[in-house]
Amino acid sequence: MKLTDQRQIAAERSAVWNAILNPEVLKACIPGCEELTGSPEDGFEAVVVQKVGPVKAKFKGEVTISDIVEGESLTLSGQGKGGPAGFASGSADVRLSDVDGGTLLEYDVDAKVGGKLAQLGSRIIDGFAKKLAGQFFERFQDGLEPETAGAAEDTKEQETKKGWIGRVFSS
C-alpha cells in the first residue's frame, strides 16, 4: 500500500534533519520499538512488537537510511520478520523544506506485508500501516516542538522550551 502525507513542524530544518538521523529519536518514534542499535551509516537493527488485528508478533529487522541529500531528503527503509506472523517491509521517502514558522516534512510511504499478516485483509493492514506511519511522524513532531506552557509540569523544562527531542540532544 502507498500513502502520502505531510506535517508542519515548528522547528528549524537543521534540527529536524539531525533528529531524523538520531537512533534515540528513531527508537522513541517507531511505535512498539523495544530495541534499536546501529548508526545511520551502517544501518540499524531493530526489535519491534506490534499487534495487528488478532496477530501479535515481535518483528526483528533492519532499518536503513539511504538516498541522503543533506538537509533535504532521505529514504527510511525497514524490513522485519515476525516469525509465524509473517513479515513486513516498508519505506518512507522524506522531504524537508522551509516554511513560515518551521519546517514542512512530507512523506511517501510504501508498505508491504506477507504471510499471516497479509491474509488479514487490506482493510486491516492498510488502516494499520496508515496509523503506524501517522504515529511515527506525530511522535517525531511532538518531540521537536516546544511543549505548551500548560502541558508541562516541570518548570525547569518549561523554561528551556524544548521538546523531548531537544532534551535528547541536550542531555
Binding site: P84, K112, V113, G114, K116, Q119, G121, S122, R123
Partner: protein
C-alpha cells in the same frame, strides 16, 4: 410407473440430514487416539530453502512427529493426469510436485514442514517453533513476464516458465490465418478471465489411519472422487498397494472442482499415521484454503473474429496464456486445452477455428478445473467478441447469433474445433429466451430506469459446452492418463429393496435422490426402497468420480445399464417361476407376466427367489440378484443454452445492479427438475460472483492480496436477482441410455458473458464509448471506463 420416477421433482432426501445438522463431514470423524497435524507454509512466493530446523518444535509439549521435505525425497510426486504435447511436438514440462517442498518454496502457502501433536493447539504452537531459513528470491506472478523468462524461473530445472505451447487444431492454423487475413471484417478483443478462489463452504480435511495389525491404511478425506485419489496415492505418490488403502469421502460440503485433486496433505496424514500408528487429522483453515486449494480460471486472451459484412462468421482465432500456478495440479493441463479449445466454435457454423494456449508457471497457487473448467473461458471469449462484432457492424446481437447458429436439422454436426455435437436446437432456445426475458418490453424498462437516472442494458449469450467426460478411447488419444468411464453396482436385497453402489460422489448434486429415480422408474418400485452408496472405495466399484457435469450422463448411465442387467436376470428367474420361456415374459411396472395372459409374478417375489433358491433353475442361473456395469460414453454430451440479463448501472458510482437473469438450458432428459433448477441457480450465483465480485489478486511479490473473505468478495443473496430458470426446451442426448446431458456447470458458464454484455450495452446506450470491461465489473472499473 411408480411416483417419483424419471422426471419427478422429488425433494432431495439428503437435505433431511443436511438441513438438520446431521450431515457427517470429514472433520466430524475423530477416531480413538486421534492426533492432529498442522503445516508450516511459505510466507514468500519464491525462496530457496537453506534449512528447516524442527528440533525445537520436536521438543514442544505434545509433539509426536515432525516432517520436512527431506522425509519425502524418496517417494513420488503428485502427477498431472493429462499429457499435453506442444505445437513443436515436444511433451509438456512436468516438474515434480513433492509432498512437502524441498529445495525451494514456490508460492505463498507452499507447505515445507508439518507437525503432528496430541492436540491441534500443540501442533499449531510447534509449527511456530520451526526455524526455517528461506532465502527469498524475486517472484514471477505475471504471465507475460513469466513467458518472457526475464525474471526468475518457477522451476529452475526445466529452464522455462512455459509448461506447453499448444495449438488446436494445428493443421487448421494456416487456413485460419489466411481466412482472417482476407476477411472483410475482423473484430479483435483482449480480455482477462479472472482468477477465482473456490471457497467451498467446507474446507479441505483429511484423516489418515493405519492398522499395524493388518497393514491396512484408511484415508477419510474431502474428495469428489475417492477412487481417483486412491489410484494417485497408490500408483504415484506413496506406493501403498491399492488393496491396502481405503479412501472414504463422506459428506463433502461443496467441491466445485477444488476437491477433485489429490493434495499433499492427504499423503502426509497417511505417512504420519503409518509412522505413529495413530490416526492423524488435518483440517484446513480458511486461510489455508485461500493459499493452498487449486484456484480457477486465470486466462489472458486475445480473440479475433473474422466475418462477412453481413455478420456471417468466417473464423475465430484465439491466443491464450493460462496460468497453472507453481505446480501442475491433476487436471490443470487439460482444463485450458481440450476442455477449452475444443469449444471455440461455440454454437456456430464457423468454418475456421484455431486456438493457441500457452500454460504458464508462476509463483502462485496451482490453478485447475473450477465449475465449468475451460468452457466458461471459451464461452466468455466467444460471446464477448461476438457482441463487440455485432456492435461494430450495427447488427442486433440476437440476429448475428441466429445467422450463424447450427440449425436443428444439421445434427450430428462436426464443429470446426473438432467435436461432433449430437443434438441441440439453438434457435428454439433463443425463441424461448425472447419470450421469457421479454425482449419486447426492454425499451420501456430502459426508459423507466433512465427516469431514475440509471443506465439500463440488455445482455444475451448463447453457449454450448461438453459434459459427460468422456469417451476413454478419444481422451486416450488426446493424452489422458486415465479412462473416464464410470461404474455402478445394483444390489437387489432378498426383501426386494435395493442398494446401488456408484462411482460418482455426491457433494451437493443430489445423487441420493436422482439416481434412485432412474432405478425405480425402470424396476417399477418405490424410489424410497432404493438407496445410493457412494464415497467409500471399500464398498463401491471403481468409478472416476464427480466433475465436468458427468455424474448423471456417465455414472447414471452405468446405473441404467446395471439395472437393465437386473431386469434381464430377473426375467429369467420369473420365467422359471411362471414355467415359460424368458422371451415370452414381459416386464411392466414391477410385474413380470406371460405376454397375453394374466399369469404374473411381482418383482419382490423374484428377488426373494434369487436369494432363497430352493426351487430355482440353479443349473442355468447363479443365485443372487446383483449386477455391475461399467459405462464408457460414446461421445461427450452437449448441453446448450440461451441466457439474458438486464442490468442497471449507476452513472454516479459505476455500481452494477443485476435486474434480471434468465437461463434457458437444454439438458436433454431431466431426471429431477427441482434438483436441476437448484444446480443452475447455484451455477448462476457463481457466475454472477465471477462477473461482479470475485478476484484472486497477487501482488508482484506473490502475496495473495485477496486472501481472506474480507478482501475476496463472494456473492451474497442481495447481489442476486430473482433467477428465472427454464429447461423445458430439451433435445435428447442421442448416445446415452437416459438421454441426459448434464447441468452442474451451465449456470457458471452462461452467466458471466451475459452480464458483461449487459453492462457494455448499458454504457453504450448511455453514450459511453466502452467496448469492454474486464471482470469483475466492479464499481471502480465501470466508473473508470465511463470517465476515461
Amino acid at each position: 410407473m411408480p411416483d417419483g420416477g424419471i422426471g419427478a421433482p422429488t425433494k432431495r432426501r439428503e437435505d433431511t440430514r443436511f438441513l438438520t445438522g446431521r450431515g457427517k463431514y470429514t472433520d466430524d470423524f475423530t477416531p480413538q487416539n486421534t492426533s492432529y497435524c498442522a503445516f508450516a507454509r511459505s510466507q514468500v512466493a519464491n525462496g530457496v530453502i537453506k534449512s528447516v530446523d524442527t528440533s525445537a518444535a520436536a521438543e514442544m509439549p505434545g509433539v509426536l512427529a515432525t516432517f520436512t521435505g527431506e522425509d519425502f525425497v524418496e517417494v513420488g510426486g503428485n502427477p498431472a493426469g493429462w499429457a499435453i504435447v506442444s505445437r513443436d511436438g515436444e511433451p509438456m514440462k512436468e516438474p515434480k510436485r513433492p509432498v512437502l517442498a524441498h529445495g525451494k518454496v514456490r508460492h505463498v502457502g507452499d507447505a515445507y514442514a508439518a507437525v503432528v501433536a496430541e492436540t491441534l493447539e500443540q501442533a499449531l504452537d510447534a509449527v511456530e517453533a520451526i526455524e526455517a531459513d528461506i532465502d527469498e528470491q524475486d517472484a514471477v506472478t505475471d504471465m507475460a513476464s513469466a513467458v518472457a523468462g526475464a525474471g526468475s524461473m518457477v522451476h529452475d530445472e526445466i529452464e522455462t516458465n512455459v509448461c506447453f505451447d499448444w495449438g488446436w487444431i494445428e493443421d487448421n492454423r494456416a487456413a485460419t490465418d489466411e481466412a482472417i487475413k482476407n476477411a472483410p471484417h475482423v473484430t479483435t478483443l483482449e480480455l482477462i478471465n479472472n482468477r477465482l478462489v473456490p471457497n467451498a463452504l467446507e474446507p479441505r480435511a483429511s484423516i489418515g489411519e493405519y492398522d499395524p495389525g493388518t497393514g491396512d491404511y484408511k484415508l477419510t478425506t474431502t474428495s469428489q472422487n475417492p477412487h481417483l485419489s486412491r489410484l494417485l496415492i497408490a500408483a504415484f505418490v506413496l506406493g501403498i498397494p491399492e488393496n491396502k488403502l481405503t479412501v472414504l469421502a463422506p459428506d463433502v460440503g461443496g467441491g466445485f472442482g477444488s476437491k477433485i485433486y489429490h493434495y499433499s496433505e492427504e499423503a502426509l496424514v497417511l505417512a504420519a499415521a503409518k509412522k505413529l500408528g495413530r490416526p492423524v487429522k488435518w483440517t484446513a483453515t480458511r486461510t489455508e484454503s485461500f493459499l493452498a486449494d487449486a484456484h480457477g480460471r486465470d486466462h489472458v486472451t486475445k480473440i479475433e473474429l473474422a466475418c462477412e459484412k453481413d455478420g456471417t462468421f468466417i473464423a475465430f482465432r484465439t491466443e491464450t496464456m493460462a496460468n497453472v500456478g507453481a505446480y501442475l495440479s491433476n487436471f490443470s493441463t487439460v482444463t485450458p486445452t481440450f476442455l477449452h479449445g475444443t469449444l471455440m466454435a461455440g454454437n456456430y457454423t464457423v468454418p475456421n477455428v484455431y486456438v493457441n494456449v500457452k500454460a504458464v508457471f508462476t509463483n502462485t497457487a496451482p490453478v485447475d478445473a473450477y465449475r465449468g473448467a475451460g468452457r466458461p473461458e471459451a464461452t466468455y471469449s466467444l460471446e464477448r467478441v461476438i457482441d463487440k462484432c455485432a456492435r461494430e457492424l450495427g447488427i442486433d446481437p440476437v440476429e448475428i447469433r441466429r445467422k450463424n447458429f447450427i440449425k436443428k436439422d444439421q445434427y450430428p454436426y462436426a464443429s470446426a474445433a473438432g467435436l461432433e455435437y449430437d443434438s441441440g436446437d439453438y434457435d428454439t432456445l433463443m425463441d424461448g429466451l425472447e419470450k421469457v426475458a421479454d425482449f419486447a418490453g426492454f425499451e420501456a424498462r430502459r426508459a423507466e430506469s433512465a427516469k431514475n437516472g440509471k443506465l439500463r442494458g440488455l445482455g444475451i449469450n448463447a453457449y454450448v459446452e461438453a459434459c459427460g467426460i468422456a469417451p476413454s478411447n478419444l481422451v486416450g488419444i488426446l493424452g489422458a492418463r486415465v479412462g473416464l468411464y464410470d461404474a455402478a453396482t445394483v444390489r437387489v436385497n432378498p426383501t426386494g429393496n435395493i442398494s446401488v453402489m456408484v462411482g460418482a460422489h455426491s457433494h451437493g448434486q443430489g445423487h441420493e435422490t436422482a439416481f434412485p429415480q432412474i432405478v425405480a422408474d425402470m424396476l417399477g418400485v418405490d424410489p424410497q426402497s432404493v438407496d445410493i452408496v457412494h464415497g467409500d472405495t471399500s464398498k463401491i466399484p471403481f468409478g472416476m468420480g464427480t466433475y465436468g457435469s458427468r455424474s448423471l450422463a456417465v455414472c447414471g448411465s452405468a446405473v441404467f445399464r446395471a439395472t437393465e442387467k437386473i431386469i434381464f436376470k430377473a426375467t429369467a428367474i420369473a420365467a422359471h417361476m411362471l414355467e415359460d420361456k424368458p422371451e415370452n415374459i414381459e416386464f411392466n411396472d414391477g410385474v413380470f407376466s406371460i405376454k397375453g395372459t394374466n399369469k404374473n409374478v411381482g418383482f419382490g417375489d423374484v428377488a426373494l427367489k434369487a436369494y432363497i433358491p430352493h426351487d430355482y433353475p440353479i443349473e442355468d442361473l447363479e443365485p443372487g440378484l446383483e449386477e455391475t456395469a461399467f459405462y464408457d460414453p460414446a461421445n461427450f454430451t452437449y448441453p446448450s443454452g440461451a441466457y439474458a440479463s438486464e442490468v442497471e448501472v449507476d452513472p454516479e458510482t459505476g455500481k452494477v445492479t443485476i435486474c434480471s437473469m434468465v437461463a434457458l438450458d437444454d439438458f436433454g432428459v431431466v431426471v429431477n427438475p427441482m434438483i436441476v433448477t437448484g444446480q443452475v441457480e447455484g451455477g448462476l450465483a457463481q457466475g454472477i460472483g465471477q462477473a461482479l465480485l470475485e478476484n484472486g489478486v497477487y501482488d508482484d511479490t506473490g502475496q495473495l492480496l485477496s486472501g481472506s473473505l474480507m478482501d475476496y468478495a463472494m456473492p451474497r443473496a442481495d447481489d442476486l436477482p430473482n433467477l428465472v430458470v427454464d429447461h423445458s426446451h430439451a433435445t435428447r442426448c442421442t448416445h446415452n441410455p437416459i438421454g441426459s446431458k448434464g447441468c452442474g456447470e451451465a449456470g457458471a458458464i452462461g452467466s458471466p458473458p451475459t452480464i458483461v454484455n449487459a453492462v457494455v450495452d448499458a454504457l453504450s446506450r448511455g453514450g459511453h464509448d466502452v467496448d469492454h470491461i474486464d471482470m469483475p465489473v466492479s464499481p471502480s472499473r465501470v466508473w473508470a471506463a465511463m470517465n476515461k
